[in-house]
Amino acid sequence: MARFLVRRIAQGALVMWLVSIASFLLFFAGGQGPLSVARRIGGKAASPQLLQRIIHDHDLDRPLYKQYWYFLFGNGHGTKGLVRGDLGQDYYYQIPVTHLLKTAAPITLSLALGAAVLWLLMGVASGILSAVKPRSFLDRFFTGIALFFYSLPTFVLGLLLLLFLYFDLSTKAHLHLFPAAGYVDLTQNPWEWAHHLMLPWITLAVVSAAAYTRLTRSSMLDVLGEDYIRTGRAKGLTERRVILRHGLRAALTPIVTQFGIDVGVLIGGAVITETVFSMQGLGYQAIQAISNQDLPVILGIVIVASAAVVIANIVVDIIYAILDPRVRLS
């Protein structure tokens, strides 16, 4: 197990390193010269001397590989480098990028994890019900719903929910079931936190749950055909025990894989949902940074987001081993 872990983490670190190179090259080397970056930091009224100073101070006049080296390990005076958790400062307010990430991350985490729990429950439950009685009315019903939501883009669903469940309900029926957009901190008021997240959660969960319904159904149907399920029934176990304990456990493997990928991606920024519901999480910040052309912020968010995916994948591999003893960790 230890050897496997070390290897897996080393692999993850390698991928992260490659990601950092790819994004550094694309964002810093892509098109924009040092002068335009300096203008953004110095403002429109900056004198040529000031611009030269900024270029020098930010190492923009150094060769690219040196800049990348500074980005990773710091330049000795200003930044400490990525390896020490420093992502530099943003171009506009000169505040550390990590500071911005720290305020945005809890919002995205609340959104992603809450939605993940919701869709896992919906997807797995409907998938099991479908698999237990394939081709039944219930199966077809869930299939239809899954197909519908699978084809519905997130932003369309989010806006429709806002229109019908928030706007029309509160203006036409005077029913204030859901609040408008926004985010309330969990530590401030847990009830308001959940209340404000309700529509975003539903939006994300419903769209994702559709895929999980299908995944659970097919995986469960595979497992229910196995001999040990028949053995379980033959020795007189209750149907509930056969399906939930013996069936589901084995059927969970592909679901865990997909779940790891999806949660990782979401933590990296539920760009669409955050935009639709104006929640200032990582995805929203990324969009803001982009309209400001604030490269360090963009780069920081892309790296954090990729790290989330890589870590989620490692966690998935570990859960694999726990769930399915047949998986050999070598």
Binding site: L147, S151, R214, S218, L221, G283, A305
Partner: protein, 326 residues
């Protein structure tokens, strides 16, 4: 997409029986049917798939004949009707006799714009899927066939592309390269999509490579490229086609999403995602639901039809595989 064996085989049997009954006595000649013919015949019997195909044909016709909508209604795609197309306070006008599906925030005809928007969606959806699948297949073939260094290199690139959140990266790229364009959308979608195709193809090639007939080809002196494209490719092409058909709706949604984030197709080009984006701006859709609902519906119907058809194609090529949707 896992492979199970739900209701496996039965469809094949039914097909064979039905075939025999239909044929008149004299025509009962034994006729070889290749896998392509079999797949096509199975697909033809899939009612949901046939209906979807008809819907797709209608959507394509709408896209091709978009100008016809403009002629019939008398409203140009970018023509703004400041007086009849907007209320005195400058809000969009609802669906009615003049504007069948209402107008947008600038007094333009929503119906005409949806028809023109179908062009962008279908074009990008199909073109992107083709590029993605072609590139992914070639990479997967190379990784699986050559192995060693080539495999390691391509597999690492696949890992990296799968680890970078696509949407964030797309948005960031658009910012760096300055604004959005159709080309950027295609590059971004294909640049991230190919890795899944490559992974599937690579897995297939790894097992096919060890077969005897490949060894035979090699001992006869066939070149690597010949073996890859003449001997191996036909064995993976069915899977690739299935993946491509399910990739089209994903690309269409991807394009609409990028345009919704205003990094895709730029105004004033009519596009479904961009229409929904302008409906969202300033909360226009709260006063004009048609401006949100109709483009959204167009998007939903299109992706739904492609998803059902793609699912049917998968089932036709491999009736033993579990269907995504029953």
């Amino acid at each position: 997409m896992t492979i199970g064996n739900v209701g496996g085989g039965t469809e094949l049997d039914v097909l064979a029986e039905g075939e025999l009954e239909e044929l008149p006595e004299a025509a009962k000649v034994i006729q070889g049917r290749g896998p392509w013919r079999l797949a096509y015949e199975r697909l033809r019997r899939d009612r949901a798939a046939v209906i979807s195909a008809v819907i797709i044909v209608i959507i394509v016709a709408c896209a091709a004949g978009a100008a016809l909508f403009a002629t019939i209604t008398g409203h140009g795609v970018n023509q703004q009707f400041r007086i009849i197309g907007e209320t005195p306070d400058g809000f969009p006008v609802g669906p009615g006799g003049k504007f069948w599906l209402g107008t947008d925030d600038q007094g333009r005809d929503v119906l005409v714009r949806i028809a023109y928007g179908a062009r962008v969606s279908l074009l990008i959806g199909v073109v992107t899927s083709l590029i993605t699948v072609t590139f992914g297949t070639i990479m997967g073939l190379m990784a699986g066939y050559f192995g060693r260094f080539v495999d390691t290199l391509i597999s690492r690139i696949i890992d990296v592309t799968l680890s970078i959140p696509f949407l964030l990266f797309a948005v960031a790229l658009a910012a760096v390269e300055g604004g959005g364009s159709i080309l950027l959308v295609v590059i971004v979608l294909a640049g991230f999509g190919w890795s899944s195709v490559a992974r599937i193809v690579r897995g297939q090639v790894l097992s096919i490579r060890e077969r005897e007939y490949i060894e035979a080809a090699r001992s006869l002196g066939a070149s690597s490229w010949r073996i890859m494209f003449i001997d191996i490719l036909p064995n993976v092409i069915a899977q690739v086609i299935v993946y491509a058909s399910l990739l089209i709706p994903l690309s269409i949604v991807g394009e609409a999403t990028l345009s919704f984030l205003s990094i895709g197709v730029q105004p004033p080009t009519a596009d479904w995602g961009a229409m929904i984006a302008s409906a969202q701006q300033g909360g226009v859709y709260q006063a004009a639901w048609w401006f949100l609902v109709f483009p959204g519906l167009a998007l939903l119907i299109t992706t739904l039809a492609f998803n059902i058809l793609g699912d049917g194609i998968r089932d036709a090529f491999d009736p033993r595989s579990d269907r995504l949707f029953v």
